[in-house]
């Protein structure tokens, strides 16, 4: 019996906008081949950024994917993060075969994890401030206070030229908001901004909306891009990002002794979650069942997990408990696996604590060395990858792990993809800066 009682929750649609493309099956193939979407950032000048590489989305043709005028009018208002979420959900809804209006408005909801968004606003603001600063040499008269006041006046004058729609672009809520309008989803809507756990939490909490009978179908996922000068620089200054720019796709080395941080990625992933009977009635293809979800907080430090990994342990234990599974039922873990010195050793210990001796018998994989870390989109993309692992009976390798860290002593499938034809349940971990932890347990569809 799943966590969600009589109203079981299944996945009937998948959509991804990833650094490895927008075709979920092809992305999964590429991951299994160990291919990487990490490349030099070309979208902006990285001269003054510590990090110059990322899991970039370069081939998204939103106009081709959303050709109708109503959709394009909405995309006109959307920023980059909102656009990726919009496109991933478009693909997921098509994959699920849910026609517009097929689900009653009040039975359809949207829960999404979202990054800060509005990078275009902050970049426009930087440009405007720079422009205002150019006025400085012309301001020769008066004392320092008067000069300051005039310069500030120019800056605020510049602020007034920021477009009104820019406000919407910097509100994370519009990731879900545009989706709700687009799909006529009049049920519950929520945007989770818990950084690296946001996407997984959005999916887990969305399942509870179905379980408590407030919806039959939920559009759930996550989207993020920190690939802009301001956010990437600030994040790099936290020492969470690999400094090995010259290594490109080899830079992020999860569970490797030489690891020095993640590589930031961008993208979006969406799942169509559906009450099982509802899905069966309409003859939908069932990809997987969402069996359990656990959440917790480290309640520790702003950016570091506690050494005993108690928050991660609690999230995993709750997810397994809700799913009604034993450790031995778990056939694979999609780890958070950021490739930061702290995460990988703490996560390894936490997995061993939860799964006991069984932890050593199953592949524990980080796909982040290939996709980059999608932050608020990561948990959603990895949930989609977990679903594909179940559907295809194989799991991708952990790329770039060559020098094992003695404290990271599980089987990370460093040598290549694994065929697991009997894979029944996958655990997917997402642990966030700020302490929020989430774990999803997904299972192969069953009677």
């Amino acid at each position: 019996m799943s966590a969600f009682g009589r109203r079981r929750v299944v996945v009937t649609g998948l959509g991804v906008v990833s650094p490895l493309g927008q075709d979920a099956a092809r992305m999964f193939d590429a991951l299994c081949r160990g291919e990487s979407g990490v490349r030099p950032i070309r979208r902006f000048d990285t001269t003054h950024c510590r990090s110059k590489i990322g899991g970039t989305v370069e081939d998204l043709d939103a106009a081709a994917l959303v050709p109708d005028r109503a959709g394009q009018l909405m995309l006109r208002l959307a920023d980059w993060v909102q656009t990726m979420a919009f496109c991933a959900t478009e693909l997921a809804v098509r994959d699920a075969g849910v026609a517009p209006g097929a689900v009653a408005r009040e039975r359809l909801g949207v829960y999404f994890g979202a990054g800060r968004g509005g990078a275009e606003v902050s970049e426009a603001l930087l440009a405007l401030v720079a422009e205002a600063a150019e006025e400085w040499p012309k301001l020769r008269e008066g004392d320092a206070d008067a000069l300051y006041s005039r310069l500030a006046g120019s800056v605020f004058g510049a602020l007034n030229r920021i477009r009104p729609t820019s406000y919407l672009q910097q509100c994370p809520t519009f990731v879900s908001g545009f989706l709700s309008i687009r799909h006529g989803a009049g049920g519950p809507m929520l945007t989770n901004v818990n950084l690296c756990s946001a996407g997984a939490q959005a999916i887990g909490e969305a399942a509870w909306v179905i379980a408590r009978d407030d919806a039959d179908v939920m559009l759930a996922g996550g989207a993020d891009s920190m690939l802009n000068a301001a956010e990437l620089t600030a994040f790099s200054n936290l020492d969470a990002v690999s400094a090995r720019n010259e290594e490109g796709p080899e830079a992020c080395k999860p569970f490797d002794l030489r690891r020095d941080g993640c590589v930031v990625g961008e993208g979006a992933a969406a799942l169509v979650l559906e009450e099982r009977e509802h899905a069966l009635r309409r003859g939908a293809r069932i990809w997987a069942e969402l069996l359990g979800y656990g959440a917790s907080s480290d309640a520790h430090k702003p950016t570091a997990p506690p050494e005993d990994g108690r928050g991660a342990v609690l999230a995993m234990e709750r997810a397994l408990g809700h799913a009604g599974l034993d450790a031995a039922d778990v056939g694979h873990v999609n780890a958070h696996g950021t490739g930061t010195p702290a995460n990988d050793v703490v996560e390894t210990a936490a997995i061993k604590q939860v799964l006991g001796a069984h932890a050593r018998r199953i592949p524990v994989v980080s796909t982040k060395s290939m996709t980059g870390h999608l932050i608020a989109g990561a948990g959603a993309l990895e949930a989609a990858i977990a679903v594909l692992c179940l559907a295809e009976g194989r799991v991708p390798p952990t790329r770039n792990l060559r020098v094992p860290d003695p404290r990271c002593d599980l089987d990370y499938a460093a040598d290549g993809p694994r065929a697991l034809p009997d894979l029944r349940a996958v655990m997917s971990n997402s642990f966030a800066i700020g302490g929020s932890n989430a774990c999803l347990v997904l299972g192969r569809p069953r009677a």
């Binding site: 005028r69 394009q72 009018l73 006109r76 208002l77 030229r161 477009r163 009104p164 729609t165």
Partner: protein, 167 residues
């Protein structure tokens, strides 16, 4: 007179609404024909300010004001400090179309109060919107109904008015 402005406003709206320029005509009604909503109106004023270097005065309206009978609402707006708003400009255009262009404020107000929806539509250069009846007197409308009567041409004329040198 306002060709430059009309072309400019059509360009802005075409881009904003993803419509062909030929579908955005002088007589097009912003609400009925072009689906301009409240956010669209804000975007439009912003783009006009940028393109023509004018300052578009706030409409000075509130939800409460929009529900007032049209002539009373306009009187309240006129009494507020600030530049001529689009609503006030439309009132002038109606007065002008009815031969009271140079009349004093009191006469203009009286002429406006006795006008019909058809008169306002004619002055704005557009058709009578489906949501209103041609013979309805202006005094029976609410301030909000004025939105329905705004045409692309009226916006262009208003931009020309804002650009004109003030005495």
């Amino acid at each position: 007179m306002s060709d430059e402005f009309l072309d400019g406003v059509r360009d802005i709206l075409g881009g904003q609404l993803l419509r062909k320029r030929d579908d955005v005509r002088a007589e097009s009604l912003l609400v009925q024909d072009l689906d301009v909503d409240s956010l669209g109106l804000i975007e439009l004023t912003f783009a006009i300010e940028e393109k023509f270097g004018v300052e578009f005065p706030d409409l000075k309206t509130s939800a409460e004001l929009l529900l007032l009978p049209l002539p009373d609402g306009l009187q309240r707006i006129e009494a507020m400090p600030g530049a001529t708003t689009l609503f006030e400009f439309m009132q002038r255009e109606v007065a002008r179309a009815l031969g009271a262009a140079d009349a004093d404020a009191e006469t203009r107000d009286r002429v406006f109060r006795t006008a019909t929806v058809a008169d306002v539509a004619r002055a704005a250069g557009g058709a009578v919107p489906a949501a209103l009846a041609a013979e309805t007197p202006v005094s029976e409308l609410r301030l909000a109904d004025l939105f329905r009567l705004i045409t692309v041409d009226v916006v262009a004329r208003y931009v020309a008015f804002l650009r004109a040198p003030r005495p």
